[in-house]
Symmetry: C3
Subunit: 472 residues, 3 copies
């Protein structure tokens, strides 16, 4: 094998291998390939677009902030520190060394979506034409770095180039959304960046920082959160503030999906105990579940779509968390349950015309058993796209294979990139369109759908479904 191997993207990549199906999939994908990107859930900071600052170096852009990339290197014995995680600003030498580590472990990514995303980015955005390896690392680093130094690679230019139609950020309820306001006030900015209300920390009275957080919430809202009614009013106020700044959804992730409600009296009693630091763990959990139901009640009023993604043991490896903080690749999924958990909430709000609930999971077992049947009955419920560990070709095929037969296509959310790796957004959406084209081609090839219907369906999956599910 030569040390330098060309890197090119086959135009038919990720389409079915069968020649007949590939023909169909090519036509379907071809019509969807250039449609604009709707990204109703993700983690790109609004500041990047508001200030349009250039990205500093290839490592800070492609490696350090992306736990998808880092975790597999860590699994091969690379310390996270060697990838820049938790190291503050990197020197050129450090950034280059980290980039070399990635390139020299290129084979570790065979068969993973990370490989697909990185190859797409290198080729399509930065024009790289050699496969990453120990030998080619420096040249690729230089090529990407040279790009980043030019105006065409600033965030706003890339936003245009990526054909992003709308993108959502994820924000703390106390956030003043200054960057979002800046963008809305900027006449030179024609894109659409929406905040998302992410209140998890305020709904978990068991957390050590909860009392201080609730105090701060009160300050920001200008409402006394010392009482339970005041706390609810402050949450309602902040939801309105977000809605007024363009938010279309609230996002929720707790250890489980339960939504058992309490009486107002009992909720108030536990709230007061929790304010005094005297709530038991059981009471704190009970109040959290009640508060998730309260979020649904508020959503019926203010119209924010609820997205739910439970079932992750956060910071599984304590020492890594202690050294590097959260969101560094040490979250591990656990089994999840929706049917019993959501019954209280859905009995109250499941048929409310103003309510939307998008269910994400990284426990595939619930695709056919729970999410499909729930989305196939409740008008408010949508099956969220395969997400996080499941945002990958085979998992996407399993998702469509498990969900479609009970919920159809129209009760799925459309693709969610859920990423802070800005340059990976087009690659992720493209991968999803290719896989959906292939799934639809299979239905056409088995005469279960006409090609004209498959064409319409793919358009809907890319354009109509996210708009419907997220009320865009």
């Amino acid at each position: 094998m030569p040390t330098t191997v060309p890197l090119d993207l086959h135009p038919d990549r990720l389409l079915p291998a069968d020649p007949g199906l590939r023909e169909v999939a090519r036509r379907l994908y071809g019509a969807a390939q250039d449609l604009p990107i709707t990204s109703p859930h993700g983690h790109v900071p609004a500041e990047w677009l508001a200030h349009d600052l250039p990205f500093t170096d290839p490592t800070s852009l492609l490696i350090t902030p992306d736990h998808y990339v880092n975790r597999l290197l860590h699994a091969h014995g690379v310390p996270l520190s060697a990838l820049g995680v938790g190291q503050g600003e990197l020197s050129e030498a450090e950034a280059r060394a980290a980039f070399r580590v990635l390139c020299s472990h290129w084979s570790a990514y065979r068969g993973t979506p990370v490989r697909v995303w990185l190859e797409s980015q290198l080729v399509e955005i930065f024009g790289v034409s050699v496969r990453p390896s120990a030998e080619t690392a420096d040249a690729i680093y230089d090529q990407v770095a040279a790009c980043l130094a030019t105006p065409a690679f600033r965030p706003r230019a890339l936003y245009e180039r990526f054909r992003i139609d709308v993108i959502a950020t994820t924000d703390d309820p106390c956030d003043d959304l200054a960057a979002h306001r800046l963008l809305r006030a900027d006449p030179t900015w024609t894109g659409r960046v929406l905040p998302t209300f992410r209140p998890d920390r305020y709904l978990e009275p068991g957390r050590a920082e909860w009392v201080a957080d609730v105090d701060r919430l009160g300050e920001v809202a200008g409402i006394d959160t010392g009482s339970y009614p005041g706390f609810l009013a402050a949450l309602e106020d902040r939801r309105r503030y977000f809605a007024d700044h363009g938010a279309v959804s609230s996002d929720h992730s707790h250890a489980d999906a339960r939504t058992d409600t309490l009486s107002e009296v009992e909720a108030g009693r536990i709230f007061a105990a929790a304010r005094r630091g005297e709530a038991t763990p059981g009471e704190a959990t009970a109040l959290r579940r009640h508060l998730v139901s309260e979020m649904a009640r508020m959503a019926c009023d203010d119209g924010l779509v609820m997205t739910l993604h439970p079932g992750v043991r956060r910071n599984h490896h304590g020492p890594t968390h202690a050294a590097y903080g959260s969101d560094v690749g040490t979250d591990i999924p656990v089994a999840v349950e929706f049917t019993e958990a959501l019954a209280p909430l859905l009995n109250r709000y499941g048929t409310h015309p103003n309510f939307r609930l998008v269910l994400f999971t990284i426990d595939e077992d619930v695709f056919s058993r729970e999410i499909g049947p729930l989305a196939g009955f409740y008008p408010s419920v949508y099956a969220g796209a395969p997400w996080w560990f499941l945002d990958a070709p085979e998992a996407m095929r399993r998702f469509r294979g498990a969900i479609t037969e009970s919920a159809g296509f129209d009760k799925t959310s459309g693709f969610i990139d859920d990423t802070r790796a800005f340059c990976s957004i087009p690659a992720r959406h493209d991968l999803s369109r290719r896989i959906d084209a292939g799934f639809l081609a299979q239905l056409v090839g088995e005469h279960r759908l006409s090609e004209e219907e498959a064409h319409d369906t793919l358009y809907d999956l890319v354009v109509t479904n996210p708009r419907r599910a997220f009320k865009l």
Copy 2:
């Protein structure tokens, strides 16, 4: 797109798209296509065949009673009342309006088995040749209605036309099986309609109506059910009555599959407490689990095959249940467990030569983990066909892929339509034969089975297996 699109059924629909596999699958399916239908579990009322009354209108036949059809429309915001559910007899205008709702939501069914079943019925039974849509709804309604007005579309004529060999109904133990007796006494009737013993309500002492139900059971059996031995004797008596009227199986669905046994003394004590309305929920559950084991004991004597299908949260949406009753599409699956749950029962009766236990699930997780291994060891245990939410092409493929490697083909039950939608029966069996033909073609194509063996296997799946599993 023209407003009128032709509707035709491709002869190769649902067969593998790969040309080589399709050739094989075509041959396999071709030999099985016209074999008679064995339907050992379903919900068609015996009265329909006994009295041979004409179906009133297209909506009452195809929409209102079929929760598979209705639930997805409900998921798209259509009230069940608009589909005739719980509305009593429909006026012609109401029936036509409901039919229009279905046709104008045709795209919601893309990729679902409901679409396959409805298309099959429309084309093959009623000769419809245009795709349902808002524009074509009235014409299709008229065409189906015209058919229903003719003798060729009465239940008995359709029974003949559908090539049904035997069909089972599902009946309350107190039912006098009058319709079944009528049919058996009718010299002009040459079909075979079998009752099925469905005792769930009598085995759940926690239900509010249980005492009254048990009283009624005693009256019908002519045995005093005031005591536990009398209660068991009454159940045995009714099982015999069913067996004498042709029943080959009893059918069971509870919240879980547990079969822990109690001592006779303890069972009697709880029974007495439950008669007084004084059993705790825990005691009621314990007695129910014991009674399921008792059903197995009785089955060793009277030979009725036991079918088990636990793991559904019935009437998940309370308001819908309150407004429309049960079986209207608001049942949602939950996780289920068989290995530990069935150990008590199988330790007692698992190798009894007269015992058969068919395990159905809508939690796919147990296919490879529990059902395959159980059916691959216990002579009494059969893997039930994929069922309810899993009665669909992709789920059927997953079933064969997950079950066959540990249990083979011969320990599976054969297809179960489980339907009250009479006209969908041929479509459902046909879909199953096509998918099994494709699965077998894959084995042939990978040289894991000779085509001659695949041919024999498909014949067995259609003819031999249901006869063996249900002792027909």
Copy 3:
């Protein structure tokens, strides 16, 4: 159908049916087909190779000891006694009769891996050329028996012929490893047979024989196991003894995978209570979980790789266990959990450079949900190959489809045959290579991997991965 049907193995068996993918798969498989066999986990007795005694008869070789073969015959109503299980040495008539039972139930194995393994053995090892059936049973029996009578079919000759590079046995910690010593001392023996440390019984204080077992452990180690520190020291001593005799791993199977640790004081207290027979079931379980964590601690020192395979209800059918003992096909899987269960152990040792943990499961649900993410983050964790009920073509495909996207190929263990059916070893490894070749061909066909990378990957899966995961 003629009563005698030829039996031949298609060269492309188990490769993809699609002609394009098959071409690729053929090339990939062709390069891996003849690579030596690495078998780091299995149950072949070292005595067979040490003494090189001839196999007595076809039934004792192929049927009686192989619960994969027996359980499906039992599921079809054949008593285990008719297959020689628990019958001591078989007469020629008995052996022949059992062989006839197998051959006359040949169709029961359609679609199972047992069929693939048996066909491979019959054709490739024994030169059989007719399909087993009632009619051909005697002739096949005679042909296999004639082979077994010749020197070429003794264990050592077969070891050479099978191209086994290294094979591990599974052994009790008190075993003196005499057969292993014999082999190492034998200058005529050039193979490599490694013991494996399997301490389950000593780690379960709830077992009735535990006190006696721990006493015996003390005797063998020459260390007083009356105290908790002595018990740990004895375990450490025996681990060293095994390591000194070539062991590379310890193997663990308990009801669950939990690893919660106790304080030394609490562990010692429960140990003392258990020695007196006074530990509660809860205490016994707590000590067992702590001891599994202790095994990991010791592994960081002595370097033995830990393999974990929880989640089986052993001896599910009590009467069969009573009549025939363990390992006769009546073990049934249950659901399993790794994420929470392993957190204590992985927080302590998960990033230790000397630690390796290979996770096996027969609950597929954890493939994408838990094992992939764990192996994709922790440097110590490897995803074990699909195993036992999942050691089969479709399950292997599901394994690769579910694991690769989060853990890649390099964090998987390589194939594990886990068998005591010596002659099935080449067939099992061959099947695995064919399926992996097909999976990789699919990635090539979808342009997700170059053929050259796929070629390297298959080599790694066969050669590099088991060596890396098991430190060979």
